[in-house]
């Protein structure tokens, strides 16, 4: 195992996070003639199929805190969230010129419409509106989703100029299973020793996985866990919270840091759910499309972007996470104008209120700059849990 330090690993991840020109992905593409890069937006796409096509899946999560959006504002009304504007800005300013195709999952109307705008703006690129089912019956949503995956596969075959075999996909499924296992290990480690794996570091580590090839990201997580475990860091008397609602537009890194500085260890979250969407290993033998369909239908995480028709089950994922992580409370952090997160929030709040679990709500944009109100809110929340709660 490598002897890299946490500092080295995090610095590497931070560089990848801040690099809006995606140098590492460009280098991957330039290393072998004919390689292709496929961008994708939150919440979930089957990266296994992209990988099986010999292409690099590249997570696009907006322009972040420091990007000035000029062109992007022309495409969306003022009451729309920021991630589509900054994503258009990335494209129009040439930062995505090396990206050969884009996938837009069916997370909300805004992202669906962004796929249409992309088709109009970038006619020479492969653009796919990735329409995941909201019906989870095998004979309805399953059939639909299998067709969707086959269409995706065929589209990528045309783009890449070669067939994607079942063996290719099974091999990729195997690699992504391995990657998910390490993602879960990092999350487990953070929950067990939150002072050894600050959330800002874990976040950067997961963000690196949006850019790096899956094999490289798995190695990076292995190195991080070894280094973080070996490093001695002071334990803080913080409360433990689950952060939920941030599954699409990402909060600024400073917000995550501010929450922990204010006394809240984040012991679980829903950032970049793509790397934990499938809750179990997908079988890496047999019909890979069928296996990916079944995993999606029956073993996927619950987010507001996924319809749950049983009101008694709604919120169970959050409640299970709170219990599993031994969390003292919940922070509902939603991007401003995020319909899925904000529409789901009252239902989820009713679940935690019924169990007398403390919670706070806050809104952010990817470029939110004022952290004082966040610190104040999170700080008083932590104090109320530590002094007046059961923790």
């Amino acid at each position: 195992m490598s002897t890299k330090t946490v500092k080295d690993i995090v610095a590497n991840c931070q560089e990848i996070f801040e690099d809006l020109d995606f140098r590492r992905a460009r280098e991957w593409k330039a290393a072998v003639p004919g390689r292709k890069v496929i961008g994708y937006m939150p919440v979930y796409v089957p990266r296994e199929i992209v990988h099986a096509a010999g292409m690099l899946p590249l997570g696009i999560l907006g322009g972040g805190a420091d990007m000035e959006v000029i062109h992007g504002d022309a495409y969306y009304q003022s009451y729309i969230c920021r991630i589509p504007r900054s994503t258009i800005e990335l494209a129009i300013t040439g930062k995505l010129d090396f990206v050969d195709g884009m996938m837009f999952p069916s997370i909300c109307d805004v992202i669906r419409n962004l796929s249409g705008i992309w088709q109009l703006l970038f006619k020479d690129k492969y653009v796919r509106y990735f329409d995941a089912p909201q019906n989870f019956k095998d004979e309805v949503g399953g059939v639909f989703y299998a067709n969707e995956l086959r269409e995706l596969k065929e589209g990528l075959e045309q783009l890449g100029g070669r067939k994607i075999t079942d063996a290719d996909i099974n091999n990729s499924i195997d690699l992504y299973n391995e990657n998910r296992r390490w993602v879960n290990r990092v999350y487990d480690f953070r929950s067990d020793y939150p002072w050894k794996a600050p959330s800002a570091e874990v976040y950067l580590l997961m963000r690196a996985g949006m850019v790096l090839p899956v094999e490289e990201h798995t190695r990076l997580m292995q190195e991080y866990l070894a280094a973080a475990d070996a490093e001695s860091r002071p334990v803080k008397d913080n409360c433990r919270v689950v952060l939920t609602g941030a599954f699409c537009e990402q909060p600024p890194l400073n917000l995550i840091k501010s929450l922990e500085m204010a006394g809240c260890y984040i012991v679980d979250d829903d950032f970049m759910m793509v790397n934990r969407w499938l809750q179990r290993d997908v079988p890496a033998t047999g019909d890979p499309i069928d296996n990916l369909v079944k995993a999606f239908l029956h073993h996927s995480a619950e987010t507001p972007a996924k319809y749950e028709d049983d009101i008694n089950v709604k919120g169970a994922y959050l409640l299970n996470t709170i219990a599993k992580r031994g969390a003292d409370g919940v922070i509902f952090a939603a991007p401003s104008f995020c319909d899925p997160a904000l529409l789901d929030q009252p239902m989820l709040i009713s679940r935690v209120e019924a169990r007398k679990i403390p919670y706070i709500t806050m809104q952010y944009a990817e470029n939110s700059g004022q952290m004082q109100p966040i610190r104040e809110q999170a700080g008083t929340f932590a104090d109320s849990i530590k002094l007046w709660g059961a923790a």
Partner: protein, 280 residues
């Protein structure tokens, strides 16, 4: 018996207090405070901890909980951090058990905090980002008037004809003051006018959190400014609020006291829960 240190890192002054708590009885063993004056806050904190330990005749290993408050989140050796409202509420109650509200006025802003008899924060409100309700503003005015800071309160209470000053904006207020100086307005009337302007803002904060009666404890650096304390009491009387403003010679330490006492409380709670690792 639990021994704890509270460190309040303010924007102007660092305050440190060392307490011993046993069976709800607390004993204040040592204290330290110093203005930051562009020095390294981390070094000052370290210095303060060494000082109070030596004063109390204790070793660091004998301290059960080091609690920070104010801007002290980044101090590495602390056990935990409490937010400013939480610690000032507890500190105010320590200094005056009758307190049911707190006015914490420090270098950069002012806060009104409603509390209960246990020191639990029930509600709070802060001054907006404008500095005209803060100690830094008063420091600037003292400089314009060529007087020492500790003269401000004494001069203000001698005023016979206070000059009205803008209560909206520090920049406008400072311009007002420069004009007053050129019109030969006595410093006592200028200072009383400023105190009334600040009192007006602070009373509004108290009213916004429904504090209209009981004892309001002043904490933070300006709690020692007798001119401001009098202006607040006069303003409340004028508005027929049945509220009594109180202050204490140790009001400056309220945050550090609160941090130390909550730290001790937290240590005992974790111990009873068998979770002391969280505070090791």
């Amino acid at each position: 018996m639990t021994t704890s240190i509270g460190i309040d890192v303010g924007s102007g002054v660092i305050k440190t207090a060392l307490f011993r708590v046993e069976n709800d009885q607390s004993e204040w063993l040592a204290r330290w405070d110093a203005r930051i004056r562009q020095r390294d806050s981390f070094k000052l904190v370290e210095e303060s901890v060494e000082y109070v330990l030596e004063k109390a005749g204790l070793k660091r290993s004998e301290i059960d909980y080091i609690a920070t408050t104010g801007e002290g989140e980044s101090i590495k050796d602390s056990t935990g951090h409490f937010y400013t409202m939480t610690t000032h509420a507890r500190g105010a109650l320590y200094l005056n058990p009758e307190a049911r509200a707190v006015l914490d006025v420090g270098a950069l802003n002012g806060r009104a905090i409603a509390i209960d008899g246990r020191g639990k924060v029930l509600n709070y409100r802060m001054t907006s980002q404008c500095a005209s309700g803060s100690g830094q503003f008063l420091e600037n005015i003292a400089r314009y008037l060529g007087i020492a800071q500790d003269e401000i309160g004494g001069l203000s209470v001698q005023s016979t004809n206070p000059e009205k000053v803008s209560s909206i904006c520090a920049v406008l207020a400072e311009t007002d003051v420069i004009n007053m100086v050129s019109r030969s307005i006595p410093p006592s009337d200028i200072l009383r006018g400023i105190h009334e302007s600040m009192a007006d803002r602070l009373i509004k904060l108290l009213k916004s959190i429904d504090v209209t009666g009981g004892v309001v404890m002043m904490t933070g650096g300006l709690a020692l400014d007798i001119g401001l304390v009098k202006a607040i009491q006069d303003g409340m009387d004028k508005q027929k609020m049945v509220t009594k403003v109180a202050t204490h010679p140790d009001s400056l330490f309220a945050g550090a006291i609160g941090a130390a006492l909550w730290g001790a409380f937290r240590h005992d709670k974790l111990q009873s829960l068998g979770q002391l690792r969280k505070a090791s």
